[in-house]
């Protein structure tokens, strides 16, 4: 008889077992929305963003043997992959002028440094939804805390604290942005 110890089962120890290997579908279920959020908001082009997500999972799947859960989380690994994919897609699009009907054209993204903007979007995508929503409402959309409080029903003091810790988390995420040449 073969006994297989699994997390949560008697005999399984996180100290003695390696973290689980890369599970494609579970990873997509858990991290797909955040990765797609990053790609969509970085590129402002939903079809291209979905291509990027597919490409990122394809690269992850093909590199799954080199993934070591002890070195970092699946989420961190996937974000590092999709960051490259999105930047490649962004540059490829920038190099390829296209004539398209106006209603099909991707929305222009204005910024003095598009790569900085993509970096910030990357960081925002990694925040929890309540943290990101609060930061976007106050510092992107320009709502006052009072206005956002009226919209959400959350007290102003709570929103202020939430934004503070969200900005700290964003700062940490930007510090960890992939510097790989």
């Amino acid at each position: 008889m073969t006994i297989v110890a699994t997390p949560g089962a008697a005999g399984w120890s996180p100290m003695s077992e390696r973290p689980p290997a890369f599970d494609l579908r579970a990873a997509f279920d858990e991290h797909g929305p955040s990765l797609l959020g990053f790609a969509v908001n970085a590129l402002r082009d939903r079809p291209l963003a979905e291509d990027c997500v597919q490409e990122a999972f394809l690269r992850a799947w093909r590199a799954r043997e080199s993934f070591d859960g002890e070195r970092g989380s699946v989420r961190t690994w996937l974000f590092a992959i999709i960051r490259r994919v999105v930047l490649d897609a962004y540059r490829a699009r920038a190099r390829t002028p296209q004539l398209v009907p106006q209603h099909d054209a991707p929305e222009p993204v204005t910024s003095t440094d598009p790569l900085e903007r993509i970096g910030i979007v990357d960081g925002l995508a990694q925040l929890s939804a309540p943290h990101r929503d609060a930061v976007v409402a106050i510092h992107v959309s320009g709502l006052s805390y009072q206005e956002y409080s009226q919209l959400t029903g959350v007290p102003v003091a709570t929103l202020r604290t939430r934004v503070f810790y969200a900005l700290r988390a964003l700062r940490t995420a930007l510090d960890e942005v992939d510097p790989t040449p």
């Binding site: 080199s66 970092g72 204005t110 503070f164």
Partner: protein, 263 residues
Amino acid sequence: MNDLEPDRRAELIAAALSGELTPEEGAELDALRVADPSVDAEFAELSALVGGLPAVERWDDVAPSAALAARIAAIDADDADAPAPAAAPGLAAVPEPAPAPDDRADAQLPSAAPVTPIRSSRRGLRPLLLLVGAAACVAVGLGGGALLTAPRGAVEGPPGTLGAIEEVDFAGAPASVDIDGALVAHTWGTETVLTVEGLARGAAFTVVVVGEDGAEYESGTFLGSAVPIDCRLNAAVLREDVAAVAIRSLEGGQIAVAEVPSV
């Protein structure tokens, strides 16, 4: 040390970042800043971060479509039948993954076409933001100006000399406001050194370096205080290209400006 709860500290800094401090909160934050110098440092860092957020313009919440989920699910299904699944339709084909050479998560990345990094190594994005937008300020209390007058080495020379302190005169400030300023030329930009007293406490101000071509380079932000404050702010413009330095309210109103000589 301050006696405030951490959440109150967070709340006050968040309110200051959005310019929503009440006068009472401004006084409370002032007291906290005097007791805890880390408040100014954290405000400066977060202020620089916040300054980049409007470039995002908006955030679209999205959920993966069923079609995308099916495309992802097909990856391992395809892999069971064929070793090389197709690349996404809008993107280049995927080369073979590289082995992971070290313990960084990034190093486990599957290789692809060469890419340009978002930022150079070790720094990431935030420090670059800070390079062009940070203000390091301290409240120095009575007898302030310590940083401004502190020796910075033996470098002396005419305006534009790298590392030398070039005193500048700020004009136009209200009579109740006292500003001492200086510039320091660096290879990477221009540093503005300020000692400021008399600005409304809790109110936020920006320092902008104006280029000879009229372009404006934000150096950073600081809060007014009941005590003199020393600030060092950096702008990504060379001293030889600087025409003036302005202190403004967050709403854009000019507080004072220093015209500087051409070098």
